[in-house]
């Protein structure tokens, strides 16, 4: 929960992205009330901070609205609690430490409204009110992510419409740090799932409105890196892709065995793949060469005995130069 507070500039945190399984994409037009948590634990202004501490710990929450006679008068968060702990002032009442007049969102607002607040104000959660200003729920970035994903899984038909909407999401949230982070753990020897992470990243890009050419280049590059983790590492590794409006950055790392001679590994045709793996058609020694061709920038670093890190970037054209024709052209 508390990592929501730390990475306030991110729409989707690493932690959340890690839990994303089949569908990892953003959507638009969902109402706050559809994704919020409606069973809210609330505090009273006269409750002692000690009670807040116990409540937070027990309910595993990091913030709660403060109500007085049914009216929302403040928000008490884990940061407030920490301030109080530092002063060893747990007997103090909630109203001394709470943030009064908290920023709220309406249940009927689009989740984009809530996202905008999260991005600009760095809050971890927002109380949700109805049109009369009464508290009806609470919303965190995690709620939004999960809600969006659920909704996207629900309907697959209006793909085009949704793609259009999703592609505008980044434009609507005005922040230089808006990004979507996808993260996958890849296991050594797991040929059965080989290519799944790259397929998911490619799909996410298409749904975010990237051109098919960009999605394809990215898919190929990540696929080669993914297979290298499966084939050449001792325990597998991690693929982390960050999609921002202007670029896609991919970081692939593992903890062994490393590459003895990176320059040699980059040579077309160089491969240490085993006979068995070659029989499956891997080991042409072309993977890294393919990656180089597909990305705008790459850096392969490795230390023998330690591990390997491959970083790649694909730059995206600014959204307004995207033409319709570009989107529908095959490669």
């Amino acid at each position: 929960m508390s990592d929501n507070l730390l990475s306030a500039s991110r729409v989707i945190t690493d932690k959340v992205a890690e839990n994303i399984s089949r569908v990892e994409e953003l959507a638009y037009e969902i109402r706050v009330r559809e994704v919020m948590t409606s069973q809210v634990i609330t505090m009273h202004p006269n409750d002692a901070m000690q009670t807040v501490l116990e409540t937070f710990r027990q309910a595993r929450i990091s913030g709660a609205p403060v109500l007085e006679e049914g009216n929302l008068i403040g928000l008490i968060s884990i940061e407030d609690l920490i301030r109080c702990l530092l002063k060893q002032d747990l007997a103090a009442p909630v109203h001394q430490y709470m943030t009064p007049h908290p920023v709220v969102v309406k249940g009927d607002d689009s989740v984009v409204e809530a996202l905008k607040v999260f991005v600009s104000k760095k809050y971890g959660r927002l109380p949700v009110v109805d049109s009369n200003g009464h508290l009806i729920g609470i919303i965190t970035k995690g709620d939004i992510t999960r809600g969006l994903l659920r909704a996207l899984e629900r309907d697959y038909q209006s793909e085009e419409v949704r793609r259009y909407r999703a592609s505008h999401l980044f434009e609507d949230i005005e922040s230089e740090r808006t990004s979507l982070i996808l993260r996958y753990n890849i296991k050594q020897g797991d040929f059965e799932h080989g290519g799944e992470a790259s397929a998911k990243i490619k799909r996410a890009l298409l749904r975010l409105g990237a051109s098919p050419q960009i999605a394809r280049r990215c898919g190929i590059a990540v696929y080669e890196a993914e297979m290298n983790l499966i084939i050449h590492t001792t325990e597998g590794g991690v693929i982390r892709a960050e999609i921002e409006p202007h670029q896609i950055s991919i970081d692939v790392y593992d903890y062994g065995p490393g590459i003895r001679d990176v320059e040699l590994a980059m040579q077309p045709g160089y491969s240490t793949a085993s006979e068995k793996v070659r029989e499956m058609g891997f080991g042409a020694g072309m993977g890294l060469v393919n990656i180089k061709r597909c990305v705008d920038w790459m850096k392969l670093e490795s230390e023998w005995g330690k591990g390997t890190r491959l970083r790649m970037k694909i730059y995206l054209p600014p959204p307004h130069t995207h033409t319709k024709g570009e989107n529908s052209n095959p490669t």
């Binding site: 040929f191 059965e192 080989g194 290519g195 799944e196 790259s198 397929a199 490619k202 098919p212 394809r216 898919g219 190929i220 696929y223 080669e224 297979m227 499956m280 058609g281 891997f282 042409a284 020694g285 072309m286 993977g287 060469v289 393919n290 061709r293 095959p330 490669t331």
Partner: protein
């Protein structure tokens, strides 16, 4: 040329179900058993001719949006591969013929790659 016509002409077995083959029109072809060559060389909508029949060919075809995979020399994909192909919407075809013959027939039928054909 449409995929159903190609299947008839070469008497290919269709290993996967749902998709209507007459809706698919391959943009050309590519042949290799080395996956990263396919990753680098095959174009979107291509037919891919290979004697590989394991699970990972499906991932490659899906990622590249290939029209179909023709598995040659009678190689048989296992159940997991077939299931994965159905899931991903990848069409699997098979033939006892060797790759060389299949490519020759496809070429005769006019399935060529526009950019490499003189």
């Amino acid at each position: 040329m449409r995929l159903d016509q190609i299947v008839n002409a070469l008497q290919l077995s269709v290993l996967t179900h749902p998709i209507d083959l007459s809706e698919v029109e391959p943009t050309g072809g590519y042949a290799s058993d080395l996956l990263s060559c396919v990753m680098s060389g095959a174009q979107r909508g291509n037919l891919w001719v290979t004697l590989q029949s394991h699970l990972n060919i499906v991932a490659v075809a899906a990622l590249l949006d290939l029209a179909a995979i023709i598995i040659t020399e009678g190689a048989q994909p296992d159940v997991a591969t077939l299931e994965k192909a159905e899931q991903e919407g990848v069409i699997l075809l098979s033939t006892p013929l060797p790759t060389y013959t299949v490519i020759g027939r496809l070429w005769e039928l006019g399935v060529r790659n526009p950019e490499t054909t003189p």
